[in-house]
Symmetry: C2
Subunit: 310 residues, 2 copies
Amino acid sequence: MSHTHENPVGLQEKYQRELLSAGLLIESSVPGVYGRSDVFEGVIQRFEAYLTRNSRHLQPEVIHFPPILSRDDYLKTSHIETFPHLMGSLHGFLGNERTHMELLRKREHGENWAADLEPIELMMAPAACYPLYPTARDTTLPEKGRLIDLVGFVFRHEPSNDPARMQSFRQREFVQLGTPEQALNHRDDWIDKGIELYKGVGLDEVQRVIANDPFFGRGGRAMVVSQIEQAMKYELVFPITSTEKPTAIASSNYHMDHFSHSYNIKTTNGEFAHTACIGFGLERTALAMFKKFRFDVKAWPSSVKTALEL
Amino acid sequence: MSHTHENPVGLQEKYQRELLSAGLLIESSVPGVYGRSDVFEGVIQRFEAYLTRNSRHLQPEVIHFPPILSRDDYLKTSHIETFPHLMGSLHGFLGNERTHMELLRKREHGENWAADLEPIELMMAPAACYPLYPTARDTTLPEKGRLIDLVGFVFRHEPSNDPARMQSFRQREFVQLGTPEQALNHRDDWIDKGIELYKGVGLDEVQRVIANDPFFGRGGRAMVVSQIEQAMKYELVFPITSTEKPTAIASSNYHMDHFSHSYNIKTTNGEFAHTACIGFGLERTALAMFKKFRFDVKAWPSSVKTALEL
């Protein structure tokens, strides 16, 4: 089939059906929410170990975060302005036995019982590195800055049959806090390193693009222009289901001093720190590998298996 | 200090402070929500691999689940009746640019912006095995039943300074679907096996107790009596911070045919299947090990390090 006849949605749904029928992903009743098989998870674990082996010489601090973020810290990002449609806000039942009876009555009668719940102090984490910045609140960074290796589940409310567009998935990130130069060097080094690492596991088609986020609404469109002009976001894209519209499997963001202003993080010279991160989409990386090398991991090229210690 | 002078809350907070100051857990602004250090996570990963090695001969199916569950499937459990105070309901912004402006205005003025969000089709998973049962909907089990090895983050809205009472933590579960005999054998075998596995990593103090859940409200108290009478729930407890009130680090539940009725899961003889699970609390297991063997993993007894391949 030539590119001009590609139907991106059709190709996404075809790949989804293949993954489900091979049992690599396990369907739920909600689009974009899947169980992962042992084989699927195995590729993610081996890719994570590969990233660890190839970053150990940098001696990063390592932190694992749970999938939730404090509501206060969520509001210190710009997510509510830029991606409100993707947020997940946690609500709970803070009532007593009487209001509990009323909750159950509403549920019984098919009424909107959940509307009576109250917002609690938590949001779904929209990015794996958002829980990091508050942990550095009111600190002065060491001379060389800080490099953090982190991983966590993130949430995006965007039901889809594109297997690469999950509502809940993991990002493995390397984050630099430091001077503007340290942050920018981190971003530039890791874009090159990311391409190299993907080539090392056989994903030679990976390409770097200057990217913009699909911000919400009209205000968003102004932000897109600004983001592209400043080249603050790069993506590494791979043709998972479409060569015309390749999918971002990793992305790199330069936040300037946004987070350090929110949390009062300084460099040794007393300036607000700058931050930059690269995030590897673990599920999307696995989907790229299964697409290119197909579903029988034992039959993958030996160079790929060697690199991943599969 | 003798047992009669123990202050359980004080001991919990003391252990929390020790873990935070050693950097094993990283504090957030919400009680019970922590980052995990490399060392903390390493113990969990090694314990998980130990469980895998010691269950491989059973040839379980392996599934990893994301931290969320469909709202419909949540309502097929009894969680809203029994533990409403622990639920996490996901709410999202489904509006347009105009309502987005209003959302931002409310947030700007310190109003309850989140109350305008709408319940979406997802809940936080309250137990790691709840996403499993719907995947077996309308099936007949094989003769020997099905054994599933699964893991996932679960959520409980119970802010606490007890490090063993996290709001977001992982359960590794082994679940049996089958005849009543297969389900009960699974429960009984795994209680013995669980004790043995914990002794194998040096946690000799683990004990089995017939347990009851702290159900919500008055209706809950009747359920407690019924649960204890039928001995449906066992816990494996370990004195993490208190010898008087040891902490459940694993628990086993027999659900009779509750889930198979909800999802129409049958055995070969045409009866509704019975289900049972054992869940290992991964964070609590690590907390038990750090409590007993302290924070320098390299100095742990060689038998423990050998068992965990540490």
